[in-house]
């Protein structure tokens, strides 16, 4: 039985899905996480406690573990452990991405610099320190622009500004977010803000797997809700894309060039792009698969889940022949209507009854605080749909969402 080390933060949405996939594939799994399992002493060797930020210490722990229990692959779930996965895989001689390439995906300024150095289209941008004078921090970027933390995910802390006054307010707001203790631990990354020109256009997400540097596109998602700011709360993803084939090809080609510029060559990738009359613009690339529970909408070949595909690939199985099912599918990350305390979500049965809706999952327990973007760090829940056409998928998601009554008290 092959043995896999799964590196997963305790706050991941995807732990159960990856463990289910490993079980279906009959793998021996050890889970490396950032908090000690309460049952560690009852199941020796099945969990590892690792600080994902202390790469050298983590590398030594994993190498020591692998001496007694050899590992066949290391897979990182979510952003936080991707660096340790690369470092430890390198130490054990397992297939992995270049550490430098993975690092570039974890810092938005480094990433954008790599694209420019490779001659790829990029808006004007500059790196500002959080304690810079907001009146000067825009430099020559101009307006409209977007301020971004360097290392946060899920549009957290991303704000559009259309003029100097709006920019100063956005800059200070992101600075306050970065000063929060949980984020300030990021160190240097939490002391800087990326300021870049706003790119208009429709947004697309690409899900892929890299094998020996070749991108295997697993899904191209349209995002039919306009993402124009001031905050960028993602909602609906629908695949296959309704873009013209030539536009889709251009998007894939742009993503390939960006991956090449960064140096990624192995494993799952998730890319965000914008498309306008000037062509495709790569916004971000992550060396991991799609976040939240969104992967549940993807099925490949004979019903294979994305997590299974990722694990198979990590273990050296060929994935070139695997294609997404033909039926259009989509997911809605349920928007947080306002800040407050979640009292109830009514209408779940009615939402499930909408033709095409496959599941409704609420991921915030009742009684918990809801914090919208740009500060918020949680999804309220997810709607999943499969239907005869991408338009029908989108309509089903909107109809189901309209049936939900999300009750929030101040």
């Amino acid at each position: 039985m092959k043995r896999l080390l799964l590196l997963v933060p305790t706050t991941s949405y995807r732990t159960a899905d990856f463990l289910d996939a490993a079980r279906r594939l009959e793998l021996d799994v050890v889970v490396g996480s950032n908090r000690r399992s309460v049952l560690e002493r009852h199941a020796e060797g099945r969990t590892l406690t690792l600080n994902f930020r202390h790469l050298e210490r983590g590398r030594r722990q994993i190498v020591r573990y692998a001496r007694e229990r050899p590992l066949d692959a290391i897979v990182a779930v979510d952003d936080a452990p991707v660096m340790l996965a690369a470092v430890a895989s390198a130490a054990l001689g397992l297939p992995h991405d270049a550490i430098d390439a993975v690092a570039a995906t974890r810092d938005k300024h480094v990433f954008r610099t790599r694209l420019v150095d490779a001659g790829l289209p990029s808006p004007p941008f500059r790196l500002a320190a959080v304690d810079d004078d907001p009146a000067q921090a825009n430099g020559n970027v101009g307006y409209p622009c977007v301020v971004k933390p360097l290392g946060l995910s899920g549009s957290r802390g991303v704000i559009r500004a259309d003029d100097p006054a709006g920019f100063a307010a956005a800059f200070r707001r992101v600075g306050r977010l970065l000063a929060r203790p949980g984020i300030a631990r990021m160190g240097e990354n939490s002391r800087h803000i990326l300021v870049e020109g706003y790119i208009p256009g429709v947004e697309i997400a690409l899900e892929g797997l890299l094998a020996d540097g070749k991108l295997h596109v697993l899904a191209l998602f349209d995002k039919p809700d306009p993402l124009e700011g001031p905050f960028f709360e993602e909602t609906i993803y629908v695949t296959p894309s309704r873009l013209a084939p030539t536009a889709q090809a251009a998007v894939v080609a742009a993503a390939e060039r960006a991956l090449c510029a960064v140096g990624l060559r192995h494993g799952p990738v998730h890319a965000e792009l914008r498309l306008n009359e000037a062509g495709p613009w790569v916004i971000e690339v992550a060396a991991r698969s799609i976040g939240g529970l969104c992967s549940r909408v993807l099925r490949f070949g004979a019903g294979i889940r994305l997590e299974e595909l990722i694990l198979c690939h990590a273990l050296g199985e060929p994935i070139e022949a695997v294609e997404r099912e033909r039926r259009p599918a989509g997911v809605m990350m349920i928007p947080i209507p306002r800040a407050g305390t979640l009292r109830a979500v009514e209408g779940i049965d009615a939402a499930r009854a909408v033709p095409g809706i496959e599941d409704v999952v609420i991921t915030v327990p009742k009684g918990q605080k809801l914090v919208p973007l740009p500060e918020g760090d949680r999804y309220l829940g997810f709607l999943f749909a499969r239907h005869d056409s991408p338009a029908a998928v989108e309509a089903a998601l909107r109809a189901a969402h309209a049936r939900l009554d999300i009750q929030v008290s101040p």
Partner: protein, 284 residues
């Protein structure tokens, strides 16, 4: 898989919502096991003592109990049956007419004559469990089960030779004993050993996270557990179960083969670890 429950106007009836399509369209009600002949799911529910009526709807199952039974006792067993049924990919109803029978025979023949030799050559086993509504549910075990390319090839072949096959679902091979519903079975030596393990070692440990693990049933080498308190809905509940509780139980009681979680995780109000978007940098 999360199964939600919802009360109905009749206190003896409880609605179970598995988050998956049950009938898709329409509804059907069975008053006893005989009537439920065309529904493997309803048949298994009727195998639970005190279940008196089963109704299937688009996305729900309504179970009615005998008056003298408490839902507290019955609910875990019902949850266990429903979860096991869907996880195993079994059909809810099998009421296809002769046309589908002929197609099922074609699919079975194809598997036996052309696919089985390749699967066995790769040290695996394969069998058609059911074919209904264009979905072929195929039991696959051994190395081919963990090989995505292999599974893809099987699906392509089935679709090619039997165009009515729209989807192929692979499930692990089911033992005969699994066809019966879990019974409580807590008086056995195995159950007592597991309860002692939970009481003496597991629960004192998970209590540090406000959690509690409840033994629901032991049946046919399977243990059914319910995770409560801080474990209910916890983002790491699956790690606690698979990488901790299951390992400890299998070591203590080697005759046990599998540990199943029948918790309604969506109902957890205070999970210890709650999921978030993460995104913290690895540098510090």
């Amino acid at each position: 898989m999360f199964i939600q429950t919802e009360s109905t106007a009749n206190p003896a009836a409880l609605k179970f919502i598995p988050g998956r399509v049950v009938l898709g369209e329409g509804s059907v009600e069975f008053r006893d096991a005989d009537e439920a002949g065309r529904s493997p799911l309803a048949q298994r529910l009727f195998a639970i003592p005190s279940v008196t009526r089963v109704a299937l709807g688009g996305d729900f199952i309504t179970v009615t109990k005998a008056e003298d039974t408490d839902w507290q006792v019955l609910k875990p067993a019902v949850l266990g049956v429903i979860m096991e049924h869907f996880v195993a990919g079994r059909p809810v109803v099998t009421d296809d007419a002769g046309g589908s029978d002929a197609l099922a025979a074609s699919v079975r023949d194809l598997i036996e004559t052309r696919i089985r030799p390749a699967v066995e050559g790769a040290r695996g086993q394969i069998a058609l469990r059911s074919f209904a509504g264009g979905i072929a549910t195929v039991e696959l075990t051994g190395q081919p089960a963990s090989n995505a390319t292999f599974r893809n090839g099987i699906e392509n072949m089935l679709r090619h030779y039997v165009p009515e096959v729209e989807e192929v679902r692979f499930v692990a091979k089911v033992r005969e004993a699994d066809e019966a519903a879990p019974e409580v079975g807590l008086d056995t030596d195995e159950a007592k050993a597991i309860q002692a393990l939970l009481d003496d070692e597991i629960n004192p440990s998970v209590a540090s996270h406000g959690g509690y693990v409840n033994l629901v049933a032991v049946k046919d080498k399977r243990v059914y557990l319910k995770l409560e308190g801080g474990c209910q809905g916890c983002g790491m509940a699956s790690v606690t179960l698979r990488q901790g509780i299951e390992v400890a139980i299998l070591e203590k009681v080697p005759s046990i083969e599998e540990v199943l979680d029948v918790t309604d995780h969506a109902g957890g109000n205070n999970p210890y670890y709650q999921a978030d978007k993460g995104g913290e940098s690895p540098w510090a």
